[in-house]
Symmetry: C2
Subunit: 150 residues, 2 copies
DNA sequence: AAAAAAATATGATTTAAATCATATTCAGGA
DNA sequence: TCCTGAATATGATTTAAATCATATTTTTTT
């Protein structure tokens, strides 16, 4: 059985998360990685991921230096960022908070018909995205309990 | 706090669910409702919802007759359809089953780094969408425990 | 300094979802 | 049987996300 594909995350956010995890595993201040060497292994168009990475740099989620010998990398501070922080940077906060039926006034006291189906699960997931850091996910890959693809 | 806005459902699916719930509450074989009288209260463009309703008719999820005195309505059989059935008709099945990071080979034995964050919640939600019928949700509105907007 | 190599900024193009428009078909009433 | 009012089928247009292209800036090396 597959993971659930939630458009909850845009393609851009997914790309960004993959790129950051890649950097977490393969870069350091002493060992920067160029866009082209990120784009290929995570299987994302180079010009596209470049744009996303630039946005993450602006927001201090990842680090970079330009010029020759330049590239992207993560500091140990960067590693402490939550997955949520990446998503908010790319998709914006609004995208994550609204009603399943897009009803303006849906809330606990006046739930839409689908509210109960989703509310608990939603909170579980949002909390995880907020709490899990890049470092956490990186460790889970290093320990062999989760996997990144070719 | 708001419901979670899951793009898990496309706008089209949301529109369709709203329309079907509207029909469940306001139509019967003896009391058909025309598109224009559905479009306005649920706040969806008429030509757009018309197209969606036509797809639902083709799939026997809702009922209709054309010509004067015609319109859309639900039979008691229609009421037993699951919410999932609507979603599958509009968005297709594939959209609901794939990895959060869009990784081809993500599964329980080889989970992606976000798998654990999502897997349980995903199953909970999918099961609910499969089990909840139109009738169930309609009853929850009638009983006053959930609400539909103006 | 000058040149080269990298990120950065900006904007153009493509693609898919959402929206709009219209001609056709079918049911009911005169 | 003909007219009217509705759904139906089909396709055009718009919009936003995804993708591509290129000129500019910054850093390192020579």
């Amino acid at each position: 059985m597959n993971c659930l594909y939630w458009k909850m995350l845009s393609k851009s956010s997914k790309y960004a998360i993959k790129a950051v995890l890649f950097l977490a595993l393969h870069s350091s201040k002493e060992n920067k990685v160029m866009v082209k060497d990120i784009a290929e292994p995570i299987n994302v168009p180079q010009a596209y991921i470049a744009k996303l990475l630039q946005a993450l740099v602006r927001d201090n989620i990842i680090s970079s230096v330009r010029g020759s010998k330049g590239g992207f990398y993560l500091t140990s501070e960067n590693l402490e960022n939550s997955i949520m922080r990446i998503v908010k940077n790319i998709d914006g906060e609004d995208k994550l908070t609204a009603c399943m039926l897009s009803m303006e006034k849906c809330h606990e006291e006046r739930p839409c018909p689908l509210h109960d189906i989703l509310s608990a699960s939603r909170n579980t997931i949002l909390t995880s995205l907020k709490n899990k850091t890049i470092r956490d996910l990186t460790l889970s890959v290093k320990s062999g309990s989760t996997f990144l693809p070719l």
